[in-house]
Symmetry: C2
Subunit: 298 residues, 2 copies
């Protein structure tokens, strides 16, 4: 299948790698507004060719948008303008409502399958692309009743080729849940990085940075280019999640400040429950029975 990937960074590059590896994509065309990234992506073999957007999308089976969500608002309608009636389009953005609304009345709306594969690292650019980045992770498909069933089927098959399980919800639900589970942890890490840089003797702090600190603050390395537009587009829900978080931090601080040991213990033990919850079952998914390893054998 001829597949066009727009945006050859961490997400687009990793998708290209695994779609080729699984045999899902037989020809990979790349598009990137950054000429250096485009060149690098070709050089390291993420894609077979680089083409201008117009050429790359008018004669292809599948178009994947993997660009910052603010650019999606401009590029997605252009792509839908240009594609043929049989082409499937999907986007990999972390926000969905604003993006879906931007093409709600487009005549090719049913060719578009809004999606959000929940995986990533704190690195960016084509050289950050990783094989197996999506394996065992969750892909969210939104508002599937507004997409043509053949297009939904193709995107489901693509995520299965990446080794992912699929969750279905409305774009509003996805934005609300993702605010808590992804956008809030990023905002918390940014604020933690800033707080620690405030301490007078910064050098000592960073010399001491232990594994716990490093893992907690890891997300604070994530690029502003990608994350600033996410916060803009999901403002309401992220502010809500930050309010809940700040409330819990104040509660924790106050239990400490007032030496209310019983309260503090209760808060720690409630937090500890996260272990069982994270290691529990995921009853909401269509489990991907056909892992990428099976696809190899075809």
């Amino acid at each position: 299948m001829k597949t066009t990937v727009i945006g050859l960074g961490l997400i687009g590059g990793s998708i290209a790698k695994d779609l080729r590896r699984s045999g899902f994509a037989t020809e990979l065309v790349g598009v990137d507004a950054n000429a250096d990234h485009a060149k690098k992506a070709l050089e390291i073999g993420l894609v077979d060719s680089i083409e201008p957007l117009e050429k790359a999308v008018c004669d292809t089976d599948l178009v994947i948008l993997a660009i910052p969500v603010n650019h999606e608002l401009e590029v997605l309608p252009r792509v839908l303008d240009l594609i043929g009636s049989g082409t499937t389009v999907s986007d990999m953005g972390s926000t969905k409502k604003v993006i879906v609304d931007s093409v709600a009345k487009h005549k090719r709306r049913r060719n578009f399958v809004p999606a959000h594969p929940m995986s990533g690292t704190e690195n960016s650019g084509p050289t950050a692309a990783l094989e197996g980045l999506f394996e065992g992770k969750i892909a969210i498909l939104c508002d599937q009743e507004n997409s043509g069933p053949q297009h939904v089927a193709l995107i489901e098959k693509m995520f299965q080729a990446l080794g992912m399980d699929i969750a279905y919800m409305t774009s509003d639900e996805q934005d609300h849940s993702t605010a808590f589970v992804s956008h809030l942890p990023h905002a918390a890490a940014y604020a933690l990085a800033n707080a620690v840089q405030d301490k007078e003797d910064r050098k000592i702090i960073f010399d001491l940075a232990s594994g716990g600190f490093r893992s907690t603050v890891r997300l604070a390395k994530s690029s502003a280019t990608m994350w600033h537009p996410i916060f803009q587009q999901n403002r309401e829900y992220v502010v809500e999640s930050l309010n809940v978080y700040i409330k819990h931090l104040i509660e924790f601080r106050d239990s400490m400040k007032s030496a209310d040991d019983e309260k503090m213990l209760k808060l720690i033990r409630n937090a500890n429950n996260i272990r069982g919850i994270l290691e529990g079952q995921n009853p909401h998914f269509v489990k991907n029975e056909e892992r990428i390893t099976k696809l190899y054998t075809k």
Copy 2:
């Protein structure tokens, strides 16, 4: 060298493993108030024998305390009461000032070397013990002028056998720095775990839990038995660090709420600086040139 380890959990067990592996300890005696832990530690070979505290410390070269910091306040003076004049004692607690103060006037104070090896995981108990847990990490030695030089030298050699670099500071400096770099990230993770459990549809949240969320919230699994006393003993500095953090979170939320894009971008970019800082040089240490691998060859 005969070494007695009091507390055979994650830290004590991991130390026992590597002191044996490096040849630093030739005989390992274990003490644990929890009979199941003691039995398990013997069974999996962390130590050669289990003895009651009194017997285990009266005729040994080195005593390592690796127990929750509240128990240290009771056990450390008892150990110093019981040891011979040549025995070295060190503790591995995450707080130092309260512990050091508790034995300030003890006649064996100079046998005691207060220390804090900065490493760990979110797991606990003897089966959580890991080989190489301390390799390449930092050990803090506090108030070294108050310990006998031969005792400091032995503890330095022990941390080198664990593959650690050593940083020297006062117990007050260690408590202040550790509040920001270790205790604050734990408090932040506990509050994040509680915040996310507040969301109405908890199931969806946890189904979606991605790598970023998991790494940010990992520390929230850490045991209350260990962490509650740390927060109690370092209350003032942890509250200070939480105040700084909450201030930064509010600043971040407000930039989002008021759609002040310039401000939000500035905050994200400042947080991004953590990458360069964490990957930079550590000029403050006595670097451990004699890694554990070299010790094997002796």
